[in-house]
């Protein structure tokens, strides 16, 4: 039986070599087998020092050496979806190890070349898989080295912060062409400090360059993209929920084509949609987490399940994600804030802009008959505070309204500041609407406590220290205003040394923030990486 393993290995390799040399396209099975072997060889290198386990697995190999050969349909299925690769790892590693030492004497130059190529492709595939599933690897591969959190993660820089690099732009253009999505062009003079970011104009939406009806992109996604780029759907929670609903629609309308697996094909179908949405407006951290969850759910669908079952399972999964992570989390945060006396009678609470979570908390507190009044601070050009003002006034809460430049006038009256967040970064910085850090700064100067309310699904493992390296530039024409009949900035495009800057986000250092209220409880800003670690281990 040991021999069978030896014979199989090089035999199959020869087949593949022949196919390659003949210039034929490898069949699917062969491709999968090749990929699998490359993966195994790569892992083999990592285990070279672990001699003891090799002995054990040599015996295991006797049992499982037939397994790789006899299960091509399931394993390749699982393999193709990058997230499920680690599941095959423990199974295939023993077979690999056994075959590798046996192979050594029989290797020829061509086989070495094939192995090298195989290794490279395996590394690429494993890099992609590692990005998504560091947690899974840690859980499933116990005999392996220490958990992947401590292994160096090779991160690919997102494209939207490398606009000044022409190679990246070329790659993006090629990728979009392949997916048949139009490329959105930058608009206007960009301030030199931000030349690495995109700057689009609202008057030139991406859909103008699409043919209607679009065959590549689902109409629900086209509508969603338009809503994003025009600011009709704005705010972290709203965007995530809209995205998940649109994906539910896509899944409902999806039918698996012939000879395709639902788990593989659906993920591939989603990729151009995500690129399209990214072009309309860069994805937020919460949307990124939601997409990761969906991809994981899809790839976990067993290949032998019927289409209807799979689809209903996915729809339920998405529904429960929205329910748990967004709606119930909001309820828990409100309960936590109110019961722990974070809103007491006689309070004067300052809020900035329109955060759905903070509005929810205030409305809940008002219903529980707490007596307080609210000061809504707003800023140009978005003026989102007006929306918050309307909602609060409708409830009957007594409100005051000022612009952000008057904050140091009004702050002596304030007892607490409640802020919402777009994302919480792993180094404790709070990424939120531009102006939040300013309010936190002035509140700190006046010794007013600052509380940030944020659900845990917005936590992301990025780190950032200033508002320049990764941000979003909105349409610069929004800054133009007409007062008393004159518009001083009207012809700003024609003036060569004039630039307009319309930032969307900024980061608040953790020393300005006193408390973060999440559905897991009240934590300091610096505990964000702890929560992320716990979440990863759970997954």
């Amino acid at each position: 039986m040991a021999d069978s393993g030896v014979i199989d290995g090089p035999g199959r390799k020869d087949e593949i070599e022949r196919a390659k040399s003949e210039g034929k396209d490898l069949t699917k099975e062969e491709k999968q087998r090749l990929r699998k072997e490359k993966k195994q060889q790569k892992k083999n290198k990592e285990k070279k020092d672990d001699k003891a386990s090799q002995e054990n697995e040599k015996e295991k190999k006797l049992v499982t050496s037939a397994a790789p050969a006899s299960q091509p349909p399931t394993q390749p299925t699982v393999q193709k979806a990058p997230s499920a690769v680690p599941a095959t790892a423990p199974v295939s590693v023993p077979a690999l190890e056994a075959s590798a030492p046996a192979d050594k004497p029989a290797k020829t130059k061509a086989e070495l070349k094939a192995e090298r190529r195989a290794r490279q492709e395996a590394e690429r595939a494993s890099k992609q898989s590692k990005k998504g599933e560091t947690g899974q690897q840690a859980a499933t591969s116990k005999p392996k080295a220490p958990p992947s959190d401590l292994q160096p993660v090779v991160k690919r820089l997102p494209e939207h912060i490398q606009v000044d690099n022409p190679d990246v732009l070329k790659k993006l253009a090629k990728k979009l062409e392949r997916q048949q999505i139009p490329l959105r062009s930058d608009y206007g003079y960009k301030v030199s400090l931000f030349s690495h970011l995109h700057q689009y104009s609202r008057k030139a939406p991406l859909t103008q360059q699409l043919s209607i009806p679009s065959t590549v992109i689902h109409p629900a996604i086209v509508r969603l993209g338009l809503q994003y780029s025009h600011g009709i759907v704005a705010g972290s929670n709203a965007r995530s929920v809209a995205l998940l609903h649109a994906f539910k629609q896509v899944i409902r309308d999806y039918t698996t084509p012939q000879n395709e697996e639902l788990s593989r094909d659906l993920v591939n179908k989603l990729k151009p949609y995500i690129s399209f949405l990214n072009q309309c407006r860069p994805l937020s951290a919460s949307m990124g987490n939601a997409i990761k969850y969906i991809k994981k759910e899809i790839s976990n669908i067993p290949s032998n399940s019927k289409e209807e079952d799979a689809k209903s399972k996915l729809l339920n999964g998405i529904e429960s994600y929205i329910n748990e992570k967004i709606i119930l989390a909001g309820v828990a945060i409100a309960k936590c804030a109110i019961e722990k006396q974070k809103i007491s009678d006689g309070d004067v609470i300052l809020v900035y802009g329109c955060s759905s979570l903070v509005n929810h908390i205030l409305c809940e507190a008002f219903e529980k008959s707490r007596k307080f009044r609210v000061i809504v601070v707003d800023s140009r050009p978005r003026l989102e505070g007006k929306e918050a003002l309307r909602r609060l006034v409708q409830k009957g809460i007594s409100c005051t309204y000022v612009l952000i430049s008057a904050v140091s006038y009004i702050l002596p009256e304030v007892s607490k500041v409640f802020l919402g967040a777009h994302a919480l970064l792993a180094n404790g910085y709070v990424m939120s609407r531009v102006g939040t850090s300013q309010i936190a700064l002035v509140a700190k100067a006046f010794n007013v406590p600052v509380l940030v309310c944020c659900e845990t699904y917005k936590f992301c493992d990025r780190v950032q220290t200033d508002s320049f390296v990764s941000n979003e530039l909105d349409d610069p024409d929004d800054l133009i205003v007409t007062r008393k009949g004159t518009t001083p900035l009207e012809g700003w495009q024609n003036q060569s040394s004039l630039g307009l800057l319309n930032l969307v986000y900024d980061v608040t250092p953790p020393d300005f923030v006193d408390l973060v209220i999440t559905e897991l409880g009240m934590i300091p800003c610096t505990s964000v990486p702890v929560v992320l670690r716990v979440k990863n281990v759970d997954q």
């Binding site: 301030v191 030199s192 400090l193 800023s379 140009r380 050009p381 007006k386 003002l389 309307r390 006034v393 007594s398 409100c399 005051t400 309204y401 000022v402 612009l403 952000i404 430049s405 008057a406 904050v407 140091s408 006038y409 009004i410 609407r433 531009v434 102006g435 850090s437 300013q438 700064l441 002035v442 100067a445 200033d466 508002s467 320049f468 800054l479 205003v481 007062r483 008393k484 001083p488 900035l489 700003w492 003036q495 060569s496 040394s497 004039l498 630039g499 307009l500 800057l501 319309n502 930032l503 900024d506």
Partner: protein, 354 residues
């Protein structure tokens, strides 16, 4: 001798000036800059000195004080009017003392003298001098010349404070700072970031003027002040008034800017000519703040919620002296702790209350 015709002409001028003051201070920022107000006030005071009927210095001071109270009451936030009146009163005192032959400037310095002599307060300025009128008018003319040169004097110091490839931040619109930056731009290349200062958005005009002079300018919203502050080398602002403790009464948003600059240890430079220095202290809540129509903040088109909401639109901000690094005025640069000394040179303590 001034006849009745000239007197009515004078009162007409004064009334016209008062109504200008009352109208000029509504929300849109001053219709004319502080320098113009100062010049007009001084010219008007010269006219009063020339045409009104007075016998001795005491009479003249009474007349000027009376007119001064009316002018400051018309527009309390326009402090340059009050400052010019106090300057003229000081000029009158000095000319009177010179005519009498005693020099009393030195008396202020010595603590002993302060305790033993009540200074000129025991004087009632009743002695008539023939040449007093001409002397006072001459001194006021000198004051006017000084006023005309203030902006240029400040702008001349620009190259001492700005080096090349700097990023300078400013807020709103100040003619002094505009001249300052344009003067430096003739020889050095630098970048200016202008915060637009809602709701009046005067920063837009400032930015267009600067970019026409060839300076690289960027307009940012007020909300982005802290976000971009980490890349700024200096903050240069103008102000409406410099208070007696070295603090500022400046356009709203300046306090936030000053706090952000302090957090990043960026120097905050205030370009303020001497006529903006006021002997007031920032403790009178009802006269310190000025509010304009909330229509600027929440326009009437918002509909029903307007009646259920309080809206505030303050015009000015108080900046404490600890946040300020340097004052640049027409007589040079000073630290905020030196302002009280300058004040004692410009105004007599008796005149602090008009």
């Amino acid at each position: 001798m001034p006849g009745p015709y000239k007197e009515t002409d004078l009162t007409e001028r004064v009334e016209a000036f008062l109504s200008d003051l009352k109208r000029g201070g509504t929300g849109a920022g001053p219709l004319r800059g502080s320098a113009e107000t100062a010049r007009e006030t001084t010219a008007l005071l010269r006219k009063i000195t020339a045409q009104a009927r007075w016998g001795s210095a005491g009479d003249l001071m009474e007349i000027i004080r009376k007119e001064g109270r009316r002018m400051t009451a018309a527009q309390p936030s326009e402090t340059t009017v009050g400052n010019m009146i106090r300057r003229v009163l000081k000029i009158i005192r000095e000319e009177y003392a010179r005519s009498r032959g005693s020099s009393e400037e030195a008396d202020q310095e010595s603590l002993h003298k302060l305790l033993t002599s009540g200074g000129l307060s025991e004087e009632n300025f009743r002695q008539p001098f023939a040449l007093l009128r001409t002397n006072v008018i001459e001194a006021i003319n000198e004051l006017l010349t000084e006023l005309e040169g203030t902006t240029d004097n400040i702008a001349m110091q620009a190259l001492e404070h700005i080096h090349s490839n700097e990023v300078i931040m400013t807020i709103g619109r100040s003619r002094t700072v505009e001249a300052f930056l344009k003067d430096a731009a003739r020889k050095r290349k630098f970048h200016v970031i202008v915060a637009e200062c809602a709701p009046f958005c005067q920063g837009h005009e400032m930015a267009t003027n600067l970019s026409k002079a060839g300076i690289e300018t960027t307009v940012i919203t007020d909300a982005a002040i802290f976000a971009v502050m980490s890349r700024v080398n200096k903050v240069i602002i103008g102000t409406q008034t410099v208070l007696a403790n070295g603090g500022l009464r400046a356009i709203n948003g300046t306090h936030t800017l000053a706090l952000a600059a302090k957090h990043h240890s960026t120097p905050l430079i205030v370009c303020a000519p001497m006529f903006k220095l006021s002997p007031q202290f920032p403790n009178e809540e009802d006269t310190f703040h000025k509010f304009v129509s909330p229509h600027e903040v929440l326009p009437f088109t918002e509909g029903e919620i307007l009646s259920k909401v309080n809206v505030h639109c303050p015009v000015f901000d108080y900046v404490p002296p600890e946040l300020i690094t340097l004052f640049i005025s027409n007589i040079g640069g000073h630290a905020p702790s030196y302002i009280y000394r300058l004040m004692s040179e410009l105004y007599h303590p008796e005149d602090h209350e008009l």
